[in-house]
């Protein structure tokens, strides 16, 4: 066994996993408040990445200005989507709302093709290009720096939900909307904020991932592989998103490296299947209370 190789592969996987965790966070925050899995999250990521492209490429802004602008753009998009298309669905079954998010995904793809054409794109380079060595281990600079930026946001979110009553409002709303209303919680605002902050995390991840992997209207598919992460971690657990994100990123990369690229998805979905059987609500998800 080539330990150095294994180490390098693992490192690359862990770094990618950090970005997965960030995307997963986008899922989790929205789910926590609204009990909706947002299937359009990959497309929101994509949209933010295209915004970045437009700002940094088209308008030739400095990438460090374009990045926050794109992320804010993505968050606004999330807020607008919630306000116009999700809010009218209040009280409908979760699966109908999920279907709405799938419809939204289609709209966003069309929009992107319409504005930026279907051509595949590369983002302007804005991360340092010197190889990063951790001890002996080589790590591609893009993912290393992407990981750092992503982790910063991740930590901010974690702290917020640990130390503010915002987290309680989120969970209360998810648990019983009518009761939350009667408690003086502004449910519409909670929903909106959940979408805004969920989209914010996703947008940042979108730009970072597109910076390493390129961009096209099909970019949104990545949202799907991150679904595995949130299910393994538990749909409503921020900690779960973190742990499972890093783990799945690592697993996927190692499986890809040792077994071949076609094994990436099956490997992670195998873990998913096992987790679902032994822990139906993921590693850290809340159990539904079932009493008669």
């Amino acid at each position: 066994m080539d330990w150095l190789f294994f180490g390098e592969i693992s490192l690359a996987g862990l770094a990618m996993g950090g970005l997965y965790a960030l995307i997963a966070l986008g899922f989790v925050i929205i789910y926590k408040a609204t009990r909706v899995i947002n299937f359009a999250i990959g497309e929101i990521m994509m949209f933010a990445a295209y915004l970045f492209l437009a700002f940094a490429g088209g308008m030739e802004m400095s990438p460090w200005i374009a990045l926050p602008l794109a992320v804010i753009g993505g968050s606004i998009l999330g807020g607008v989507i919630e306000k116009t298309m999700i809010r009218p669905m209040l009280g409908e079954s979760p699966i109908s709302v999920v279907m709405v998010t799938i419809g939204i995904a289609s709209i966003l793809v069309g929009l992107v093709e319409f504005i930026w054409t279907a051509d595949p794109q590369l983002l302007p380079n804005f991360l340092p290009r010197e190889p990063v060595f951790i001890g002996e281990l080589y790590l591609a600079p893009k993912i290393a720096y992407g990981f750092l930026i992503g982790s910063a946001l991740l930590i901010i979110y974690l702290l917020y939900f640990r130390f503010s009553r915002g987290g309680v409002a989120l969970r209360a709303t998810a648990s019983d909307q009518a009761a939350a209303y009667s408690m003086g919680i502004n449910v519409r605002r909670v929903f909106n904020m959940a979408w805004v902050f969920g989209s914010l995390a996703a947008s940042l991840a979108g730009v970072l991932v597109a910076a390493t992997g390129g961009l096209s209207p099909q970019f949104g598919i990545i949202g799907l592989s991150v679904l595995v992460v949130v299910i393994v971690g538990g749909l409503d657990s921020i900690l779960g998103a973190l742990v499972a994100g890093v783990f799945i990123g690592w697993l996927e990369t190692v499986a890809g490296a040792y077994l071949g690229g076609e094994y990436r998805m099956p490997a992670t979905f195998l873990v998913l299947a096992v987790i679902l059987v032994i822990r139906p609500y993921g590693l850290f998800g809340t159990h539904e209370i079932e009493r008669v």
Binding site: I37, M85, P88, M89, E92, S93, P94, I95, S96, V97, V98, M99, V100, I102, G103, I104, A105, S106, I107, L108, V109, G110, L111, V112, E113, F114, A118, L224, L227, V228, I231, L235, E262, M265, P266, F269, L270, L272, A273, L276, V277, P280, Y281, G282, E288, E290, V292
Partner: protein, 347 residues
């Protein structure tokens, strides 16, 4: 307007078509289905076949998701199992198509039972993702088990045959697909007249109390999975005979989403809704293409310009539908019917 329809017996009361008017309409509808292939062009015929296949698969998914409350994103995978079974059988055996179709259904049902196993513990959207996992595995198997599935290249098969007849043209396929679709919808309707259908609905509404009332959850959830994937398998088998080539990419995730959308847009837990949904989802993109065609003479670049537009419109239609009529097409249909039943006496 329809007046007074008191029933003399419980049998008459539980019949599906309880009034003369309804029977008349039904007869009329069947007649249209019969005449249809003789009067339309090949493209409409083709669409007719597609809708038929979609109706079968959607009805299956409706049983599982709409009536039993188990959300599945694996329908395309189950159809794939059916399609590969038919392809393999028709290449390696001389079985006639009715047999291969039944075997395709049974094979898919077997896989469905396997996939359904976690459903005892896993619920709601978690289950949806579990079925998504299953379809990823199925895709993997389709792509990698080359000796049976032909790998990425897939399998090509001969037309369906029976008693020396071969069913090659869309015209002849129509006469397999559409009667089968009618039959299978009716069978599904029957299930919901009996204790089994009631058990499914009970599980959807409240599974734990259903259990205490004497419904064996595992058994009925698996039965629902089996029945649903049987339908998918048959639809997949028809798909195979229809296109006569089966590849792993014939059954992408987007297809599962397509069927789920058909069920939801049509109206969950409503068989008629499923049929309307299947037709809607198949035909709307076609209608949108007609729009493009109508624009092309005036604006030659219309196809390029319109194709992203179509995606936007398609998505917007789904979203708009669910926002304005969350209970789906079936609800709209009922509203129209109520209107005509009282007609001409409004309100």
């Amino acid at each position: 307007m329809r007046i007074g329809d008191a029933k003399q017996s419980y049998e008459a009361d539980e019949a599906i078509w309880t009034s003369q008017t309804q029977k008349l309409w039904l007869g009329f509808f069947l007649l249209i289905l019969l005449v249809f292939p003789f009067v339309v062009d090949s493209y409409l015929l083709y669409l007719g076949c597609l809708v038929g296949i979609a109706v079968i698969s959607t009805t299956g998914l409706n049983i599982l998701t709409g009536f039993t409350g188990l959300i599945s994103l694996g329908q395309a995978g189950f159809m794939g199992v059916g399609a590969y079974t038919v392809a393999w059988l028709s290449i390696n055996t001389a079985l006639p198509f009715p047999v291969t179709l039944v075997l395709a259904g049974l094979m898919a049902a077997a896989v469905g039972i396997l996939v359904g196993l976690p459903s005892l513990r896993v619920k709601g959207l978690y289950l949806a993702i579990a079925t998504l996992a299953a379809s990823v595995f199925l895709h993997f198997i389709f792509a990698e088990w080359e000796s049976v599935t032909g790998g990425m290249g897939g399998l090509s098969l001969e037309p369906a045959h029976l008693f020396g007849l071969t069913f090659q043209s869309d015209f002849s396929m129509y006469f397999i697909i559409v009667p089968l679709a009618v039959l299978m919808v009716l069978a599904a309707r029957n299930v919901f007249r009996t204790r089994i259908g009631r058990a499914f609905i009970a599980i959807r509404d409240r599974d734990i109390s259903a259990e205490i009332l004497g419904i064996n959850l595992l058994r009925y959830k698996l039965m629902s999975f089996a029945l649903s994937s049987f339908y998918a398998g048959v639809a997949g088998g028809l798909f195979a005979y229809f296109y006569r080539v089966v590849t792993p990419e014939s059954f992408p995730l987007s297809m599962s989403i397509f069927y789920l959308a058909a069920v939801i847009v049509g109206g969950m837990g409503n068989l008629l809704g499923g049929i309307l949904g299947a037709a809607f989802m198949t035909l709307v993109p076609e209608a949108l293409k007609l729009l493009t065609a109508a624009l092309t003479p005036f604006y030659p670049n219309a196809p390029v310009f319109m194709s992203p537009m179509l995606e936007i419109i398609f998505g917007a239609l789904i979203v708009g539908f669910l926002i304005f009529e969350p209970h789906g097409l079936a609800e709209i249909w009922h509203r129209i019917r109520r209107f005509f039943r009282l007609w001409p006496f409004k309100n």
